[in-house]
Protein backbone atom coordinates (compact mmCIF):
# COMPACT_ATOMS: atom_id res chain seq x y z
CA UNK A 1 0.00 0.00 0.00
CA UNK A 2 1.46 3.33 -1.02
CA UNK A 3 1.12 6.30 1.30
CA UNK A 4 -1.57 8.86 0.65
CA UNK A 5 -0.76 12.02 -1.20
CA UNK A 6 -2.89 14.96 -0.36
CA UNK A 7 -3.53 18.42 -1.75
CA UNK A 8 -4.92 21.15 0.46
CA UNK A 9 -7.70 23.22 -1.05
CA UNK A 10 -7.73 26.82 0.05
CA UNK A 11 -7.95 28.88 -3.12
CA UNK A 12 -9.16 28.41 -6.64
CA UNK A 13 -5.75 27.49 -8.06
CA UNK A 14 -5.45 24.62 -5.60
CA UNK A 15 -8.20 22.93 -7.61
CA UNK A 16 -5.81 22.88 -10.55
CA UNK A 17 -3.00 21.32 -8.53
CA UNK A 18 -5.34 18.65 -7.11
CA UNK A 19 -6.51 17.90 -10.62
CA UNK A 20 -2.97 17.66 -11.95
CA UNK A 21 -1.94 15.26 -9.20
CA UNK A 22 -5.02 13.15 -9.90
CA UNK A 23 -4.29 13.01 -13.60
CA UNK A 24 -0.65 12.17 -12.97
CA UNK A 25 -1.52 9.28 -10.66
CA UNK A 26 -4.19 8.00 -13.05
CA UNK A 27 -1.65 8.10 -15.87
CA UNK A 28 0.91 6.23 -13.79
CA UNK A 29 -1.64 3.52 -13.01
CA UNK A 30 -2.34 3.21 -16.74
CA UNK A 31 -5.97 4.12 -16.72
CA UNK A 32 -7.42 4.60 -20.21
CA UNK A 33 -7.60 8.16 -21.55
CA UNK A 34 -11.33 8.27 -20.93
CA UNK A 35 -10.95 7.08 -17.34
CA UNK A 36 -8.14 9.59 -16.82
CA UNK A 37 -10.51 12.33 -17.95
CA UNK A 38 -13.25 10.92 -15.68
CA UNK A 39 -10.98 10.88 -12.63
CA UNK A 40 -9.64 14.36 -13.37
CA UNK A 41 -13.15 15.73 -13.78
CA UNK A 42 -14.33 14.06 -10.56
CA UNK A 43 -11.37 15.53 -8.67
CA UNK A 44 -12.20 18.91 -10.15
CA UNK A 45 -15.81 18.68 -8.95
CA UNK A 46 -14.86 17.52 -5.45
CA UNK A 47 -12.18 20.18 -5.10
CA UNK A 48 -14.51 22.88 -6.36
CA UNK A 49 -17.16 21.84 -3.84
CA UNK A 50 -14.61 22.26 -1.06
CA UNK A 51 -13.56 25.65 -2.42
CA UNK A 52 -17.13 26.87 -2.88
CA UNK A 53 -18.86 25.56 0.23
CA UNK A 54 -16.33 24.59 2.87
CA UNK A 55 -13.52 27.03 2.03
CA UNK A 56 -10.91 24.67 3.41
CA UNK A 57 -10.27 20.99 3.09
CA UNK A 58 -8.17 18.48 1.27
CA UNK A 59 -8.21 15.94 -1.52
CA UNK A 60 -6.28 12.72 -0.92
CA UNK A 61 -5.23 10.08 -3.40
CA UNK A 62 -4.30 6.50 -2.65
CA UNK A 63 -3.41 3.58 -4.85
CA UNK A 64 -5.50 0.52 -3.95
CA UNK A 65 -4.33 -3.00 -4.65
CA UNK A 66 -6.41 -6.10 -4.06
CA UNK A 67 -5.76 -9.65 -5.19
CA UNK A 68 -7.30 -9.22 -8.59
CA UNK A 69 -7.47 -5.53 -9.31
CA UNK A 70 -5.91 -2.17 -8.86
CA UNK A 71 -7.59 1.15 -8.41
CA UNK A 72 -7.28 4.76 -7.36
CA UNK A 73 -9.07 6.09 -4.32
CA UNK A 74 -9.94 9.78 -4.24
CA UNK A 75 -11.26 11.21 -1.02
CA UNK A 76 -12.35 14.71 -0.17
CA UNK A 77 -12.43 15.87 3.43
CA UNK A 78 -13.51 19.24 4.74
CA UNK A 79 -14.51 20.85 7.97
CA UNK A 80 -17.16 23.03 6.42
CA UNK A 81 -20.80 23.55 7.28
CA UNK A 82 -21.83 19.99 6.30
CA UNK A 83 -24.84 18.92 4.29
CA UNK A 84 -28.33 18.90 5.82
CA UNK A 85 -30.03 16.63 3.33
CA UNK A 86 -27.73 14.27 1.46
CA UNK A 87 -30.44 12.78 -0.73
CA UNK A 88 -31.23 16.28 -1.94
CA UNK A 89 -27.67 17.08 -3.06
CA UNK A 90 -27.48 13.73 -4.83
CA UNK A 91 -30.36 14.77 -7.10
CA UNK A 92 -29.52 16.12 -10.52
CA UNK A 93 -30.16 19.81 -10.82
CA UNK A 94 -30.13 20.69 -7.15
CA UNK A 95 -27.86 23.63 -6.44
CA UNK A 96 -27.42 26.33 -3.84
CA UNK A 97 -24.75 28.27 -5.72
CA UNK A 98 -26.51 28.89 -9.02
CA UNK A 99 -24.48 26.22 -10.80
CA UNK A 100 -25.75 23.30 -12.84
CA UNK A 101 -26.29 21.06 -9.84
CA UNK A 102 -24.64 18.13 -11.58
CA UNK A 103 -21.52 18.00 -9.40
CA UNK A 104 -22.05 15.27 -6.81
CA UNK A 105 -24.40 13.00 -8.79
CA UNK A 106 -21.96 13.50 -11.66
CA UNK A 107 -19.02 12.36 -9.55
CA UNK A 108 -21.00 9.30 -8.53
CA UNK A 109 -21.48 8.40 -12.20
CA UNK A 110 -17.87 9.16 -13.10
CA UNK A 111 -16.42 6.90 -10.41
CA UNK A 112 -17.08 3.23 -9.56
CA UNK A 113 -17.60 3.56 -5.83
CA UNK A 114 -19.04 6.52 -4.01
CA UNK A 115 -19.62 7.11 -0.34
CA UNK A 116 -20.64 10.33 1.35
CA UNK A 117 -20.83 11.14 5.01
CA UNK A 118 -21.70 14.50 6.41
CA UNK A 119 -22.59 16.03 9.70
CA UNK A 120 -23.99 19.53 9.99
CA UNK A 121 -21.45 21.85 11.57
CA UNK A 122 -18.74 19.18 11.48
CA UNK A 123 -17.85 18.71 7.85
CA UNK A 124 -18.14 16.35 4.95
CA UNK A 125 -16.18 13.29 3.91
CA UNK A 126 -16.53 11.80 0.45
CA UNK A 127 -14.72 8.61 -0.54
CA UNK A 128 -14.63 7.47 -4.15
CA UNK A 129 -12.80 4.72 -5.98
CA UNK A 130 -12.11 4.03 -9.64
CA UNK A 131 -10.98 0.52 -10.55
CA UNK A 132 -8.79 -0.29 -13.53
CA UNK A 133 -10.65 -2.42 -16.03
Amino acid sequence: MTPQSCVKIREEWDIVSARQLGREMAKKLRFSTVDQARITTAVSELARNIYLYAEEGQICFEVLETADHKGLSVSATDTGPGITDISQVMQDGFTTSGGLGAGLPGVKRLMDEFDIQSEVGQGTQINTVKWIR
Binding site: R19, V34, A37, T41, S44, G106, L110
Partner: protein, 289 residues
Amino acid sequence: MNTNLRNIAIENSDTIVQMWLEKIDSLKGEEFRFSTSDELFENTNREFVNVIFTSIKQQGSLIEVITFSEKLITLGWPLSYITDGLQLFRRVTIDYILSNSDQVDTNFFSAVLTSVDKWVEPIIHQLINEYTGSWEHILSIQRIALQELSAPLIPVTDGITIMPLIGTIDTERAKQIMENLLDGVIKHNSEVVLIDITGVPVVDTMVAHHIIQAAEAVRLIGSNCILVGIRPEIAQTIVNLGIDLTNLPTKSSLKKGFITALEMTNRKVINLKPMEDGIEEMINSIQGE
Protein backbone atom coordinates in the same frame (compact mmCIF):
# COMPACT_ATOMS: atom_id res chain seq x y z
CA MET B 1 31.54 47.35 24.06
CA ASN B 2 29.79 47.29 20.73
CA THR B 3 32.57 49.01 18.78
CA ASN B 4 35.05 46.90 20.65
CA LEU B 5 33.49 43.71 19.36
CA ARG B 6 33.28 45.11 15.90
CA ASN B 7 36.98 45.87 15.96
CA ILE B 8 37.74 42.30 17.04
CA ALA B 9 35.69 40.97 14.14
CA ILE B 10 37.25 43.35 11.60
CA GLU B 11 40.81 42.79 12.78
CA ASN B 12 40.41 39.05 12.57
CA SER B 13 38.34 39.11 9.43
CA ASP B 14 40.85 36.94 7.56
CA THR B 15 40.52 34.09 10.04
CA ILE B 16 36.74 34.37 10.17
CA VAL B 17 36.52 34.47 6.39
CA GLN B 18 38.70 31.36 6.21
CA MET B 19 36.55 29.48 8.70
CA TRP B 20 33.40 30.56 6.90
CA LEU B 21 34.71 29.52 3.49
CA GLU B 22 35.57 26.05 4.79
CA LYS B 23 32.11 25.57 6.21
CA ILE B 24 30.20 26.97 3.25
CA ASP B 25 32.06 24.57 1.02
CA SER B 26 30.54 21.64 2.88
CA LEU B 27 27.11 23.25 2.43
CA LYS B 28 27.49 23.12 -1.31
CA GLY B 29 27.74 19.35 -1.32
CA GLU B 30 24.70 18.88 0.89
CA GLU B 31 22.21 21.37 -0.35
CA PHE B 32 23.22 23.17 -3.47
CA ARG B 33 23.08 20.76 -6.30
CA PHE B 34 22.57 23.53 -8.81
CA SER B 35 25.02 23.56 -11.62
CA THR B 36 27.75 26.11 -11.06
CA SER B 37 31.46 25.76 -11.56
CA ASP B 38 33.61 25.54 -8.42
CA GLU B 39 35.39 28.68 -9.50
CA LEU B 40 32.22 30.72 -9.73
CA PHE B 41 31.03 29.29 -6.43
CA GLU B 42 34.28 30.27 -4.70
CA ASN B 43 34.38 33.75 -6.20
CA THR B 44 30.81 34.41 -5.23
CA ASN B 45 31.51 33.16 -1.71
CA ARG B 46 34.43 35.56 -1.39
CA GLU B 47 32.30 38.39 -2.67
CA PHE B 48 29.53 37.40 -0.29
CA VAL B 49 31.78 37.48 2.77
CA ASN B 50 33.34 40.76 1.60
CA VAL B 51 29.90 42.26 1.29
CA ILE B 52 29.14 41.18 4.85
CA PHE B 53 32.34 42.74 6.16
CA THR B 54 31.90 45.95 4.20
CA SER B 55 28.48 46.26 5.73
CA ILE B 56 29.93 45.69 9.22
CA LYS B 57 32.73 48.20 8.64
CA GLN B 58 30.40 50.84 7.31
CA GLN B 59 28.12 50.30 10.29
CA GLY B 60 25.26 48.72 8.44
CA SER B 61 25.42 50.31 5.00
CA LEU B 62 23.37 48.20 2.61
CA ILE B 63 24.37 49.60 -0.79
CA GLU B 64 26.77 46.75 -1.51
CA VAL B 65 24.22 44.23 -0.28
CA ILE B 66 21.70 45.45 -2.83
CA THR B 67 24.17 45.20 -5.72
CA PHE B 68 25.23 41.75 -4.58
CA SER B 69 21.68 40.45 -4.24
CA GLU B 70 20.82 41.73 -7.71
CA LYS B 71 23.76 39.77 -9.04
CA LEU B 72 22.66 36.59 -7.23
CA ILE B 73 19.11 36.97 -8.52
CA THR B 74 20.38 37.25 -12.08
CA LEU B 75 22.53 34.16 -11.50
CA GLY B 76 19.42 32.40 -10.23
CA TRP B 77 20.91 31.18 -6.97
CA PRO B 78 18.47 29.95 -4.37
CA LEU B 79 17.50 32.13 -1.43
CA SER B 80 18.50 29.31 0.92
CA TYR B 81 22.14 29.84 -0.10
CA ILE B 82 21.98 33.37 1.26
CA THR B 83 20.12 32.60 4.46
CA ASP B 84 22.25 29.53 5.22
CA GLY B 85 25.41 31.47 4.40
CA LEU B 86 24.49 34.26 6.76
CA GLN B 87 23.45 31.91 9.56
CA LEU B 88 26.79 30.21 9.13
CA PHE B 89 28.55 33.55 9.29
CA ARG B 90 26.75 34.36 12.51
CA ARG B 91 27.73 31.03 14.07
CA VAL B 92 31.36 31.23 12.94
CA THR B 93 31.77 34.80 14.17
CA ILE B 94 30.21 34.10 17.56
CA ASP B 95 32.34 30.97 17.94
CA TYR B 96 35.47 32.87 17.04
CA ILE B 97 34.91 35.83 19.34
CA LEU B 98 33.96 33.62 22.27
CA SER B 99 36.85 31.22 21.85
CA ASN B 100 39.33 34.07 21.66
CA SER B 101 38.34 36.00 24.73
CA ASP B 102 39.18 35.25 28.34
CA GLN B 103 36.13 36.94 29.76
CA VAL B 104 33.25 34.49 29.40
CA ASP B 105 30.34 35.47 31.61
CA THR B 106 26.68 35.81 30.81
CA ASN B 107 26.84 39.54 30.16
CA PHE B 108 29.65 39.24 27.68
CA PHE B 109 27.98 36.29 26.04
CA SER B 110 24.72 38.14 25.48
CA ALA B 111 26.61 41.24 24.29
CA VAL B 112 28.36 39.18 21.63
CA LEU B 113 25.10 37.58 20.51
CA THR B 114 23.32 40.92 20.33
CA SER B 115 26.00 42.70 18.34
CA VAL B 116 26.56 39.88 15.85
CA ASP B 117 22.80 39.71 15.38
CA LYS B 118 22.80 43.43 14.72
CA TRP B 119 25.34 42.96 11.92
CA VAL B 120 23.66 40.03 10.29
CA GLU B 121 19.94 40.72 10.67
CA PRO B 122 19.74 43.82 8.41
CA ILE B 123 21.61 41.99 5.66
CA ILE B 124 19.28 38.97 5.81
CA HIS B 125 16.32 41.31 5.89
CA GLN B 126 17.53 43.28 2.88
CA LEU B 127 18.40 40.18 0.83
CA ILE B 128 15.06 38.50 1.48
CA ASN B 129 13.29 41.71 0.55
CA GLU B 130 15.19 41.92 -2.72
CA TYR B 131 14.45 38.29 -3.52
CA THR B 132 10.74 38.38 -2.74
CA GLY B 133 10.47 41.69 -4.57
CA SER B 134 11.90 40.06 -7.67
CA TRP B 135 9.52 37.09 -7.33
CA GLU B 136 6.51 39.32 -6.92
CA HIS B 137 7.58 41.28 -9.97
CA ILE B 138 7.88 38.10 -12.07
CA LEU B 139 4.54 36.88 -10.76
CA SER B 140 2.73 40.07 -11.68
CA ILE B 141 4.29 40.11 -15.15
CA GLN B 142 3.24 36.52 -15.72
CA ARG B 143 -0.24 37.24 -14.50
CA ILE B 144 -0.55 40.04 -17.05
CA ALA B 145 0.90 37.82 -19.78
CA LEU B 146 -1.63 35.13 -18.91
CA GLN B 147 -4.47 37.62 -18.97
CA GLU B 148 -3.50 38.73 -22.44
CA LEU B 149 -3.67 35.13 -23.59
CA SER B 150 -6.82 34.25 -21.75
CA ALA B 151 -9.72 34.98 -24.09
CA PRO B 152 -8.73 36.05 -27.59
CA LEU B 153 -11.38 36.65 -30.21
CA ILE B 154 -10.50 36.25 -33.88
CA PRO B 155 -12.74 37.57 -36.64
CA VAL B 156 -12.15 35.20 -39.59
CA THR B 157 -14.62 36.39 -42.20
CA ASP B 158 -17.59 38.72 -42.26
CA GLY B 159 -19.98 37.59 -39.58
CA ILE B 160 -17.91 34.67 -38.28
CA THR B 161 -15.70 34.92 -35.20
CA ILE B 162 -13.66 32.28 -33.41
CA MET B 163 -12.70 32.12 -29.75
CA PRO B 164 -10.04 29.48 -29.15
CA LEU B 165 -9.75 28.54 -25.47
CA ILE B 166 -6.56 26.96 -24.19
CA GLY B 167 -5.86 25.87 -20.61
CA THR B 168 -7.70 25.92 -17.34
CA ILE B 169 -10.79 28.08 -17.00
CA ASP B 170 -11.25 29.65 -13.58
CA THR B 171 -13.84 32.13 -12.40
CA GLU B 172 -11.72 35.14 -13.37
CA ARG B 173 -11.15 33.81 -16.87
CA ALA B 174 -14.76 32.79 -17.32
CA LYS B 175 -15.73 36.39 -16.64
CA GLN B 176 -13.26 37.61 -19.27
CA ILE B 177 -14.50 35.08 -21.80
CA MET B 178 -18.05 36.36 -21.37
CA GLU B 179 -17.00 40.02 -21.64
CA ASN B 180 -14.71 39.54 -24.64
CA LEU B 181 -17.31 37.40 -26.38
CA LEU B 182 -20.09 39.94 -26.02
CA ASP B 183 -17.86 42.92 -26.85
CA GLY B 184 -16.46 41.11 -29.86
CA VAL B 185 -19.82 40.03 -31.22
CA ILE B 186 -21.02 43.64 -31.18
CA LYS B 187 -17.73 45.05 -32.48
CA HIS B 188 -17.23 42.62 -35.37
CA ASN B 189 -20.95 42.35 -36.02
CA SER B 190 -20.74 38.56 -35.87
CA GLU B 191 -23.62 36.32 -36.76
CA VAL B 192 -21.89 33.14 -35.62
CA VAL B 193 -19.29 32.65 -32.89
CA LEU B 194 -17.28 29.43 -32.70
CA ILE B 195 -15.98 28.54 -29.23
CA ASP B 196 -13.13 26.06 -29.58
CA ILE B 197 -12.37 24.00 -26.46
CA THR B 198 -9.75 21.68 -27.96
CA GLY B 199 -7.16 23.08 -25.55
CA VAL B 200 -9.26 22.93 -22.38
CA PRO B 201 -7.97 20.00 -20.29
CA VAL B 202 -11.05 19.42 -18.13
CA VAL B 203 -14.67 20.30 -18.69
CA ASP B 204 -16.39 20.06 -15.33
CA THR B 205 -19.78 21.43 -14.35
CA MET B 206 -18.35 24.88 -13.65
CA VAL B 207 -16.68 25.21 -17.06
CA ALA B 208 -19.79 23.85 -18.79
CA HIS B 209 -21.96 26.22 -16.82
CA HIS B 210 -19.89 29.22 -17.89
CA ILE B 211 -19.90 28.14 -21.53
CA ILE B 212 -23.68 27.63 -21.48
CA GLN B 213 -24.15 31.06 -19.89
CA ALA B 214 -21.86 32.72 -22.43
CA ALA B 215 -23.71 31.05 -25.30
CA GLU B 216 -27.04 32.12 -23.85
CA ALA B 217 -25.81 35.72 -23.55
CA VAL B 218 -24.59 35.65 -27.16
CA ARG B 219 -27.99 34.35 -28.23
CA LEU B 220 -29.67 37.24 -26.42
CA ILE B 221 -27.76 39.79 -28.46
CA GLY B 222 -28.88 38.09 -31.64
CA SER B 223 -25.98 35.82 -32.62
CA ASN B 224 -25.39 32.08 -32.58
CA CYS B 225 -22.78 30.07 -30.76
CA ILE B 226 -21.29 26.78 -31.90
CA LEU B 227 -19.17 24.76 -29.50
CA VAL B 228 -16.35 22.99 -31.31
CA GLY B 229 -13.34 20.85 -30.45
CA ILE B 230 -15.01 18.42 -28.06
CA ARG B 231 -12.62 15.50 -27.68
CA PRO B 232 -14.11 11.99 -27.30
CA GLU B 233 -13.11 11.64 -23.63
CA ILE B 234 -14.56 15.07 -22.85
CA ALA B 235 -17.80 14.06 -24.58
CA GLN B 236 -17.99 11.01 -22.30
CA THR B 237 -17.36 12.93 -19.12
CA ILE B 238 -19.97 15.53 -20.12
CA VAL B 239 -22.49 12.71 -20.57
CA ASN B 240 -21.48 11.13 -17.24
CA LEU B 241 -21.87 14.43 -15.45
CA GLY B 242 -25.33 14.73 -16.98
CA ILE B 243 -24.73 18.17 -18.42
CA ASP B 244 -27.44 19.19 -20.86
CA LEU B 245 -25.92 20.78 -23.95
CA THR B 246 -28.90 20.21 -26.23
CA ASN B 247 -29.52 23.92 -26.60
CA LEU B 248 -25.98 24.49 -27.79
CA PRO B 249 -25.04 23.33 -31.29
CA THR B 250 -21.78 21.36 -31.15
CA LYS B 251 -19.30 20.06 -33.71
CA SER B 252 -16.31 17.81 -33.21
CA SER B 253 -13.77 19.99 -34.99
CA LEU B 254 -13.21 23.63 -35.77
CA LYS B 255 -13.25 22.80 -39.48
CA LYS B 256 -16.74 21.28 -39.34
CA GLY B 257 -17.93 24.12 -37.17
CA PHE B 258 -16.63 26.65 -39.66
CA ILE B 259 -18.41 24.94 -42.56
CA THR B 260 -21.65 24.97 -40.54
CA ALA B 261 -21.09 28.63 -39.72
CA LEU B 262 -20.70 29.39 -43.44
CA GLU B 263 -23.93 27.54 -44.19
CA MET B 264 -25.71 29.51 -41.50
CA THR B 265 -24.59 32.72 -43.17
CA ASN B 266 -25.56 31.38 -46.63
CA ARG B 267 -22.08 30.82 -47.94
CA LYS B 268 -19.84 27.91 -48.81
CA VAL B 269 -16.26 27.23 -49.78
CA ILE B 270 -15.71 26.30 -53.42
CA ASN B 271 -12.60 25.50 -55.40
CA LEU B 272 -11.90 28.13 -58.02
CA LYS B 273 -10.80 25.48 -60.52
CA PRO B 274 -12.21 21.97 -60.32
CA MET B 275 -9.23 19.86 -59.23
CA GLU B 276 -9.75 16.63 -61.20
CA ASP B 277 -10.51 18.40 -64.47
CA GLY B 278 -7.30 20.28 -64.09
CA ILE B 279 -5.27 17.07 -63.87
CA GLU B 280 -7.11 15.53 -66.81
CA GLU B 281 -6.44 18.58 -68.89
CA MET B 282 -2.77 18.36 -68.03
CA ILE B 283 -2.63 14.68 -69.00
CA ASN B 284 -4.46 15.40 -72.23
CA SER B 285 -2.14 18.21 -73.08
CA ILE B 286 0.90 15.98 -72.47
CA GLN B 287 -0.58 13.24 -74.65
CA GLY B 288 -1.25 15.74 -77.39
CA GLU B 289 2.41 16.67 -77.67
